[in-house]
């Protein structure tokens, strides 16, 4: 394979896997939210906020993908010539956010489903439910950080 293709595989993994993590996470929270809303429609706003939280992994994935695309010239000017090894470097750089985005999205969704159960009983404690979920997100942030640092390290 040419370098450019390998790098694009990296883009695909970052956006696709992290996005899947978000999709699954949001789906889990959504199910719980529907259960709550069917009894107590007034909590729609609160549940929507909670449901949005696992969306960040997908955004981080998109962000990493975008940075790579910009680097290799898919967005903007002309395609950059990449050696195979440079291509692999981009692929590797994409992996942290791809992997951690997938798992942290799912588990953040699970924590938030419990937070939905929490606000079903004590809506005033929503803040704490969010804090717990953010604990999970931390690792997606770190993965993104690793991805970004790796990307900046690649010289094309």
């Amino acid at each position: 394979m040419e370098g450019i293709e390998i790098a694009m595989l990296g883009v695909a993994l970052a956006v696709g896997l992290a996005g899947s993590g978000s999709a699954i996470g949001i789906g889990i929270v959504g199910q719980s939210a529907c259960g709550l809303i069917s009894e107590d429609p007034d909590k729609f706003g609160q549940t929507l906020l909670l449901q949005a939280l696992p969306g960040t992994q997908g955004i981080y994935g998109l962000l990493a993908g975008f940075l790579i695309m910009q680097d290799i010239g898919i967005v903007g000017e002309e395609l950059v010539e990449l050696t195979t090894w440079q291509g692999y470097a981009y692929l590797m750089a994409a992996l942290p956010i791809a992997i951690a985005g997938l798992s942290s999205g799912i588990y953040q969704g699970r924590v938030l489903a419990s937070s939905i159960n929490l606000i079903a009983k004590r809506p005033e404690e929503m803040g704490k439910g969010i804090v717990y979920a953010v604990m999970v997100e931390t690792y997606a942030v770190f993965a993104l950080l690793a991805t970004i640092l790796m990307l900046f390290g690649i010289a094309v």
């Binding site: 729609f44 949005a52 962000l63 975008f66 953010v134 931390t138 950080l145």
Partner: protein, 649 residues
């Protein structure tokens, strides 16, 4: 002093004035009442004091309150007030001026009438619903018999013949048909209808064979379908039932129309409910009194700054009541009221989400506030979003009537907007890269390592600051050695390590050795034996990983700051793809507005929560315990209405 000092207050007065005193306290909302009976100091007077019984009229209040509640619930069921998106967070209340509120309360006698009307309407609705279900059930039961063109009253036993309608499970039907001729010779079986489960049939035979037939039918689980109270053919009956259903529906809408007329009283009922609820709370609180035949005594906590005010209010408005106060004893359970002034005040909401400080602890709010302000700005770091967020929060702040924490949150967001605006200029973010201005400081996209190191440096500073606060607490608490052992040695050790690893200064290794030795020697000091002391001291060095991960955690500032800007850039690039034609520019504008708004909301949310997290886990755990009890005075609490200043003033 951010934690307000409290004093124990006692109010003693003539029994006749106790309601007046309670009304005053309730209105002022500044005294937290205690249960006198359970108070330690009153043991020796136990014989003198009569424990106060719940006032008799409490059950009247209770029943009135539940009447109003019923009416409001009834209205809500049939004519619901839906909450808007914002109200779902802030709660929806009715704004009333003092005069309006009082005029509603004067109309309290009307409640009984409204209650009766609601009750009657409810009963009507229930009756209508019951009749509807009956009709529906009957229609359902009759449905299979529609093909039967025979008035049901004619299906009856004669003296010579028996005839009736029967239902048999499908799986028994063929067996029934087989066995029938063996039992009797002459009969008429007419299958009317069949579905997946049952076969419905008309059957008639000679009456004298009835017993044999019953026997046979029982063996095949055949049941009789009887419609005792109706006349006509099944399809006629269904028609008339449908007509009845229509009438019932009309009747319901007539009842509901009547109810709708009652809706004008809703605000009045809301005001009365809150009034009754407060009366109830007040009366319940009166049970905390102690008293004799002619006097009453009340005990509670009040914040020191309002003491004078409280004293004059009591003495001016009553004839007999006197107030005394004393300083709290060291071991008393004193409630905590936070009071920060100026820009630190809104950050109380962050502290309270974690925990209320203990009474003799430092309130972390003012120490945390500047960091929060800074981090929020770094995470959002876009001048455009900053302006937008600030204006949005300001608008909501002006428009909504909110509780204390809601107001604080919006103020915090306004400050956050300012901070984000500043960092946007410093780091060059204006709606992503929509407006390309050179950064005042540097561009983190071009100099990521500078940004990362800056984030970690700020983190290290905050961690040291937290340690410093704990050292201060230790020294102030009379334990200066603890400050040296637990914070001083760590400070030396960590700095030594940093110098060593970065190779800035070779003196680092000596600092590390001195600090490390100090830690090994002191960290096991609570252990009993020398060996244990040494090993737990040695083991404590492992905590260096804790500090390391604390500081590394601040790298999120860099990642989040970059994320909000880069996503803004993504929005811009996607928009650019559309630009070109006229329609393209329209699409471009839509993408820009929608995309940037979305990014602003999401980035604000993650800036808020991640910044909070840094305070809670990396900063607070160095010096703050929390677990205090927050001050809960007896005060007016409303569920449905807010009393606002009348518009003239």
């Amino acid at each position: 002093m951010p934690i307000i000092d409290m004093k124990k207050v006692y109010i003693l007065g003539h029994r006749q004035e106790r309601t007046r005193v309670f009304n005053l306290l309730h209105k002022m909302g500044t005294v937290e009442l205690l249960d006198v009976k359970s108070g330690e100091g009153w043991k020796e007077f136990q014989d003198l004091l009569e424990p106060e019984q719940l006032p008799d009229n409490i059950s009247q209040i209770d029943s009135k309150r539940s009447d109003i509640r019923f009416c409001l619930d009834f209205f809500q069921r049939h004519f619901p007030i839906r909450k808007s998106m914002i109200e779902q967070f802030t709660g929806s209340r009715l704004d009333l001026t003092d005069e309006q509120f009082n005029s509603y309360i004067e109309a309290l006698e009307q409640v009984e009438e409204i209650y009766k009307a609601c009750r009657e309407a409810e009963e009507d609705l229930v009756r209508i619903r019951n009749e509807e279900t009956q009709s529906h059930n009957l229609i359902e039961d009759l449905q299979p018999w529609v093909p039967l063109d025979l008035p049901l009253e004619e299906v009856e036993e004669g003296s010579w013949t028996m005839m009736d309608l029967f239902i048999v499970p499908v799986e028994q039907y063929s067996a029934l048909l087989e066995d029938l001729p063996e039992t009797i010779s002459e009969y008429c079986l007419d299958e009317v209808f069949s579905d997946e489960e049952n076969v419905y049939f008309f059957f008639s035979a000679l009456a004298e064979k009835k017993q044999a037939i019953d026997e046979l039918f029982r063996g095949k689980a055949v049941s009789r379908a009887s419609f005792p109270d109706v006349t006509g053919t099944p399809s006629d009956i269904i028609d008339s039932l449908n007509k009845k259903l229509e009438e019932l529906a009309q009747e319901r809408s007539a009842v509901l129309k009547e109810v709708e007329k009652l809706l004008v009283h809703r605000p009045m009922l809301m005001a009365c409910y809150d009034y009754m609820d407060n009366e109830h709370a007040k009366h319940q609180a009166m049970a905390n009194l102690a008293g004799t035949d002619n006097s009453f005594l009340l005990e509670g906590w009040a914040p020191v700054p309002i003491m004078d005010d409280l004293e004059t209010t009591i003495s001016e408005n009553t004839e007999t009541a006197v107030l005394t106060s004393r300083e709290p004893e060291p071991d008393e359970d004193v409630p905590v009221l936070l009071h920060n002034k100026g820009p630190a005040e809104p950050y109380e909401v962050v502290t309270k989400l974690y925990s209320t400080p203990k009474r003799n602890e430092l309130d972390p709010t003012p120490f945390m506030a500047p960091f929060f302000f800074l981090y929020f700005g770094i995470c959002l770091s876009d001048a455009g979003y900053g302006i937008l967020l600030g204006l949005l929060a300001f608008y909501l702040y002006r428009k909504l009537t909110l509780g204390e924490s809601g107001r604080q949150l919006l103020k915090l967001l306004m400050l956050g907007g300012i901070s984000a605006f500043a960092f946007g200029i410093l780091l060059g973010g204006y709606f992503g890269d929509l407006i390309e201005l050179p950064p005042l400081l540097f561009n983190p996209l071009e100099e990521p390592m500078t940004m990362l190191i800056a984030a970690l440096a700020i983190g290290l500073f905050q961690v040291y600051f937290g340690m410093g606060l704990q050292a201060y607490r230790n020294i102030k608490g009379g334990k200066p050695l603890d400050a040296l052992y637990d914070q001083g040695f760590w400070f030396i050790f960590l700095n030594g390590l940093i110098l060593l690893v970065t190779g800035i200064n070779p003196a680092g290794q000596w600092m590390a050795v001195v600090g490390g030795a100090g830690l090994v020697l002191t960290q096991g000091r609570s252990q009993s034996s020398v060996i244990l002391k040494f090993f737990s001291g040695l083991l404590s060095l492992y905590n260096v990983t804790q500090y390391l991960s604390d500081v590394l955690s601040y790298s999120r500032l860099f990642a989040l700051g970059l994320a909000s800007v880069v996503i803004g850039m993504v929005v811009n690039s996607v928009g650019e793809l559309a630009a070109g034609s006229i329609i393209g520019y329209v699409v471009l504008v839509i993408i820009l507005i929608g995309g940037h708004f979305f990014n602003m909301i999401i980035s604000t949310l993650s800036s808020y929560v991640h910044t909070s997290r840094l305070q809670y886990l990396e900063f607070f755990n160095k010096f703050f315990e929390g677990g205090g009890r927050s001050f809960q005075p007896l005060r007016v609490k409303n569920n449905y209405v807010d009393i606002v200043e009348s518009e003239e003033n």
